[in-house]
């Protein structure tokens, strides 16, 4: 690991000031489960880090609001996953948390840090001699002609097909979450759907935050579809693995058994959190049935662009969306 200068911050304002003072390339360290790991591999080589893991004003969360749920960016994944109100009223959100990582990592990792978790593409993490435009712009993409079983069906480019690995952001994007950030220029908010970038020809740029900005809160508008929601995650093993495919579904079912509000996103298959409006449109107004659930899954994966080893995810993903629709509809208040 390369040497790095270390400072701590006690508040969000202090953290932003310390980040500015630490100079170019300085990084925020929260739970450390991604950044410190990649620093060990020398994939990340920040000259300085600002430790925000004890920033008190980011640590809380409130799921009792009438208009929105508010999550401090420093809240721990494990603590939020245990919240009783969230488990009852937004099961997709808690499932996206407890089906991620291990309890040890969830005790460490923060909600804000998790949003910007970096890809698990083995060519990115593997370092030299593998070509990776994300790690070393212009070097190429070893995945394009390599082992692409874990790579993206959606949102890729000739320069990068690395999957965004997070579960929490995949669930949040289905709920139209907003992200609050604080930077040298003050505070601002943006839709979570605009936080992550597709790789295009600049895969090294993964998000739309300005240098020196800190995520402070995540806000989720209250919706009755939360009760009828599910986050299903299909993995190579039953637990503690990244998604081959995941699906976040949230819906309401009206009096005659038809789907009203409908929100669907898929994970493990795209270069950023991936909402699928075509699947929502296919299901909205339809009676809940195996056929309509299947049709939603097919709509979700209609535009998939598989590589050499990941075409199996189209059928797997279609079924995952369909299963998630059935589970969500079973939970929905009628």
């Amino acid at each position: 690991m390369r040497p790095f200068a270390y400072t701590t911050a006690g508040t969000a304002v202090e953290a932003v000031a310390a980040l500015a003072a630490a100079g170019p390339g300085a990084r925020l360290l929260a739970g450390g489960t991604t950044l410190y790991d990649l620093m060990k591999l020398e994939i990340e080589t920040p000259p300085a880090v600002v430790d925000v893991h004890r920033v008190a004003d980011l640590a809380g969360f409130d799921t009792s609001g009438e208009r929105e749920l508010v999550f401090g960016a420093g809240a721990r994944m494990a603590d939020v996953a245990e919240d009783g109100r969230l488990r009852r009223d937004y099961p997709a959100l808690t499932e996206s948390l407890w089906r991620a990582a291990s309890q040890q990592l969830r005790n460490m990792a923060t909600l804000g840090g998790n949003l910007l978790q970096r890809t698990r593409c083995p060519y990115f993490r593997g370092g030299e001699p593998f070509a990776c435009n994300k790690r070393r712009p212009g070097s190429g993409c070893a995945a394009q002609e390599g082992l692409d079983r874990s790579h993206a069906l959606f949102g890729g480019s000739d320069d990068c097909i690395a999957v965004y690995p997070g579960d929490w952001a995949t669930a949040l994007v289905a709920f139209d979450a907003e992200v609050d950030v604080l930077g040298p220029g003050g505070a601002r908010s943006l839709p979570l759907a605009r936080l992550h970038r597709e790789p295009g020809d600049t895969p090294q740029l993964e998000h739309t935050l300005e240098p020196g900005e800190l995520i402070t809160r995540i806000r989720v508008p209250v919706t009755p579809a939360g009760r009828g929601s599910a986050y299903l995650k299909i993995r190579d093993r039953e637990s503690y693995a990244f998604a081959l495919v995941s699906a976040a579904v949230a819906l309401t079912v009206d009096g005659d058994g038809r789907v009203g509000e409908c929100r669907i996103a898929v994970g493990g298959v795209a270069t950023r959190p991936w909402r699928v409006p075509a699947a929502e449109q296919a299901l909205r107004g339809q009676p809940v049935s195996d056929a309509s659930a299947r049709a939603a899954g097919e709509a979700a994966f209609a535009g998939a662009r598989p590589g050499r080893h990941n075409a199996f995810k189209i059928e797997l993903g279609t079924r995952t969306v369909a299963d998630a629709v059935r589970v969500a509809a079973g939970r929905a208040v009628r």
Binding site: P3, A20, A21, A48, Q103, M108
Partner: protein, 164 residues
Amino acid sequence: MAATEPVYEVELSCAVNGEPVHVRVDTRESLLDLLRERLGVTGAKKGCDHGQCGACTVHLDGRRVVSCLTPAVQAAGADVTTVEGVAGPDGELHPLQQAFIDHDALQCGYCTPGQIMSGLACLAEGHAGDDDEVREYMSGNLCRCGAYAGIVAAVRAVAEQQGR
């Protein structure tokens, strides 16, 4: 903010198994390396060193974490508990340690300190209600000998003793 000299080493105070520790650490140093290489507390094991195996699991202020991905500087002011701190003062094994013996929950033993620390947390969190829940909440601890059936049985046995 006034310009200050970059800090590459930090004076760290914490408690390890109840004993106060004062040590100067490199900012790069992991809590696992501090415990094993500097303090001679070698119960926590280095398996993968990337948070994937759980062999290094310890408790930080009562919560289980992987010490390989915990920068030592983040333990400032914290209570660290390792497997060495689990048995009674006269050396009497903790009921979970005894249950690992009784249920044949290890073969080579390399993952066992991490399994014990994770199992204790699993019980304390209330995540040992049935076999499936134990499997889910112990999934961060790999056992390459495949003693999983015994590990689940040991954690469940203690949960039942505790009336959970």
